[in-house]
């Protein structure tokens, strides 16, 4: 995965890079088998559900996350992310509101991660702080 210290910013950026590159094997390697994943659009359990969800999402959206604030330890990580969504297809039932192909949405989210003793994420929870761009 990476030799960076678990819970460090450098270690966490490996996870985000994998996510931004649609590297499903890479980012799901950070998940515990019983990971709980709570985002605005879905509540998921287990790496398979997360991968299934993001396979569907990335078919419709180019998603990029940029790390702003980071505070981490071996057991918890708290981050501020700017999430940019570029819609490749219409998504009429997108959770925050219907979107059309070509729309852009940009939001700031605070995301808190719980880690187990192996340094794997057991819980991921995201809260929206602000929407920068709606369309």
């Amino acid at each position: 995965m990476t030799k960076a210290e678990i819970g460090s910013r450098e270690w966490f950026e490996v996870y985000l890079d994998a996510f931004n590159n649609n590297d499903f094997d890479g980012f799901s390697a950070f998940y515990a088998p019983d990971v709980e994943f709570y985002v605005q659009a879905a509540n998921l359990k287990g790496p398979a559900q997360v991968i299934e969800f993001y396979t569907m999402v990335m078919d419709r959206i180019d998603e990029h996350v940029a790390l702003k604030t980071f505070v981490g330890s071996k057991t918890n990580i708290a981050i501020e992310l700017v999430t940019t969504l570029k819609f490749k297809k219409d998504w009429p039932d997108f959770a925050p509101g219907p979107m059309k192909a070509g729309d852009h949405r940009e939001a700031v989210n605070f995301v808190f991660y719980d880690l187990n003793e192996k340094g794997l994420f057991t819980r991921i929870r995201s809260a929206r702080y602000a929407v920068i761009r709606e369309r």
Binding site: Y38, T69, V71, G72, S73, N76, A78, E80, N109, F110, V111, F112, R125, S126, A127, R128, Y129, A130
Partner: protein, 136 residues
């Protein structure tokens, strides 16, 4: 004292409504954005806002977790508001006497010179417990 220990003292001060002590945790240029997106600039604005909130509702904040790198403190908080009177203009929505509002939030505190300069909160979960429902 660690930032986490100082933060616990700050939350105690908040819960005890000790406004005179509360402002000592803030920079004069403090900016606070609460979970509803409302921005309060300056110590007086924060105290004025929470005095109004506390006139209608008792609020207790519990720290679920906190950690700091010395420049930023991240905290997960659980707040419970209980309306002591009808509060149609309560910032999170109208409350009737006895209603309770439970909020689970993620908050970042930026620290400089030993005081908080910027506080930003995002709500992860908001749950109403209505007095009328509980009576049934």
């Amino acid at each position: 004292m660690s930032e986490e220990a100082r933060f616990a003292e700050y939350i105690d001060t908040f819960n005890n409504r000790n406004y005179e002590k509360l402002v000592t945790y803030y920079s004069p240029e403090i900016r606070l954005v609460n979970g509803t997106g409302r921005e309060l600039a300056g110590r007086d604005a924060i105290v004025d806002f929470y005095k109004k909130v506390n006139a209608f509702a008792s609020r207790k904040i519990a720290i679920c977790s906190s950690m700091s790198d010395g420049e930023t403190l991240a905290a997960e908080l659980k707040s419970t508001f209980t309306a002591m009177a009808n509060a149609p203009d309560f910032p999170s929505g109208p409350m009737a006497k006895g209603d309770r509002l439970y909020i689970n939030s993620f908050v970042f505190y930026e620290i400089a010179g030993g005081v908080y300069v910027k506080i930003r909160a995002a709500i992860f979960e908001r749950r109403w417990m209505r007095a009328a429902d509980e009576e049934q």
